[in-house]
Amino acid sequence: MSAELSSKLDLASPATGAATGKKDDKVRIFAKNVGDAPILKTTEFSASAASPFSRVIDHIQKKIRTSAAHKDAVVHLFINQSFSPAPDEQLGDLYKCFQNNGKLVIDYALKEAWG
């Protein structure tokens, strides 16, 4: 029994893979500006499913801060115009739960648009 069990237990590794998203899994993101937030040059991009949501916050904030007018801007990100995920949530899971036509739609604002 123990041999059988331990061979089955090896499956725990792929399970973590499924849980954390495989390294090469990508998530399509569509970023939409809200209010006076500037439009990004590239509104569609992909990011690793295993990465935390903070990766997207940092990416969008960095792009916006390249213009002098917004060099100290703090961006707020929302999904489906409703809520803001915590920075430590996993992108792949957010995609699975809230994607629309194969894309995770993220609205970004310079104010807390949907507090």
Binding site: L9, L11, A12, A15, A19, P52, I79, S82, F83, D93
Partner: protein, 327 residues
């Protein structure tokens, strides 16, 4: 034609599911109150490196509600310890809790942190309060009460979006209701909490069509060594008309950990909960309780959810699995 057949099939599935769900959906205030009243005795010690006085202070004891968050009960501890730490450090931003070398996340409910890190340990729960070094701990930035409040509201909206497909129900709460929800959590008042919380959980139409209001089960699975929760969409019932069980969810998300328990799971049912000698099985905890794996998740979501309406499921693999995980 094919579509029609499918619709009929779905209708049958719904009717079957409704027969199972009908008695599980109404909020059981006895169970919910019992869960709400769960609390953990905690012994807080000041971190040695933060003590600036000749003698270290005595530890601080507090009874922390499971449904609440650490910052809500740490105010008193902070006031107690502030005479022992350098004045510059003593602010909310610098404060963090440690348990056996792990920094505890302030944004998780206290009960979840306990189940995840200290299940089976002796009480009171021994924790260390730090007033320095928070930057290297990978915690979300904490700016005081406002951070927690904001996090709570956003999580509540996310859970509601999963559940109903939109967070309209949260947006429809009045400012006073939202305030009531938050202050009842701060002051640990069940009646005040449940009157608003039930607005978010009660279905608006009676009968089977009410069940279709619930699109997805808002649940999060935590494992001690994973940096983020696992959150995947599950429907309340399956195509065969049976409700989604805890086992269905765990088997899909963590097949490696739960496939092996299948046999013992069936055996356990026969042997009336007797331990089938399977010490490999991970511990599954919801609000400190190990529910039978055949429990419908819908019932857990209605009765055992956290204050933000997410169902928090902690999975603690046995040490052997943990090694497999780590590799």
């Amino acid at each position: 034609m094919a579509e029609e057949e499918r619709a009929v099939g779905e209708g049958e599935g719904l009717r079957g599911a409704w027969r199972e769900a009908e008695h599980l959906l109404p909020l059981d205030e006895v169970v919910r109150k019992e869960v709400w009243e769960g609390s953990i005795p905690i012994r807080v010690e000041l971190a040695r490196q933060d003590v600036s006085t000749f003698e270290a202070p005595m530890p601080f004891y507090v009874q922390a509600p499971r449904m609440g968050y650490f910052p809500l009960v740490l105010g008193q501890a902070k006031a107690y310890f502030q005479n022992y730490v350098p004045a510059v450090c003593c602010n909310d931003r610098e404060m963090w809790l440690e348990h056996k070398g792990n920094a505890l996340k302030w944004h998780l409910p206290t009960g979840v942190l306990f189940d995840l890190h200290a299940h089976g340990e002796d009480l009171p729960w021994h924790l260390t309060l730090h007033f320095s070094g928070v930057e290297t701990k990978g915690l979300l930035p904490y700016e005081g009460d406002v951070s927690l409040r904001r996090h709570f509201r956003q999580t509540l909206k996310q859970a509601t979006s999963l559940r109903y497909g939109s967070c309209k129900r949260v947006n429809n709460l009045s400012v006073a209701q939202m305030e009531q929800l938050w202050s009842s959590l701060q002051e640990n008042k069940f009646e005040s909490f449940t009157s608003v919380n039930s607005e978010l959980l009660k279905l608006s139409t009676p009968g089977p069509s009410g069940l279709t209001e619930i699109k997805r089960l808002p649940l999060r699975i935590y494992l001690p060594h994973l940096p983020s929760p696992i959150q995947q969409p599950f429907t309340p019932f399956k195509d065969d008309g049976h409700l989604t069980t805890l086992h269905d969810v765990l088997l899909q998300i963590l097949p490696g950990l739960f496939e092996t328990t299948r046999l013992s799971f069936a055996k356990t049912q026969e042997e009336e909960g007797e331990d089938a000698g399977d010490d490999q099985r991970p511990t599954v905890l919801v609000q400190g309780i190990s529910p039978p794996l055949q429990t419908p998740v819908l019932w857990l979501c209605q009765q055992l959810a956290g204050a933000d309406t997410f169902l928090y499921i902690c999975v603690i693999p046995k040490s052997k699995d943990q090694e497999v995980f780590a590799s």
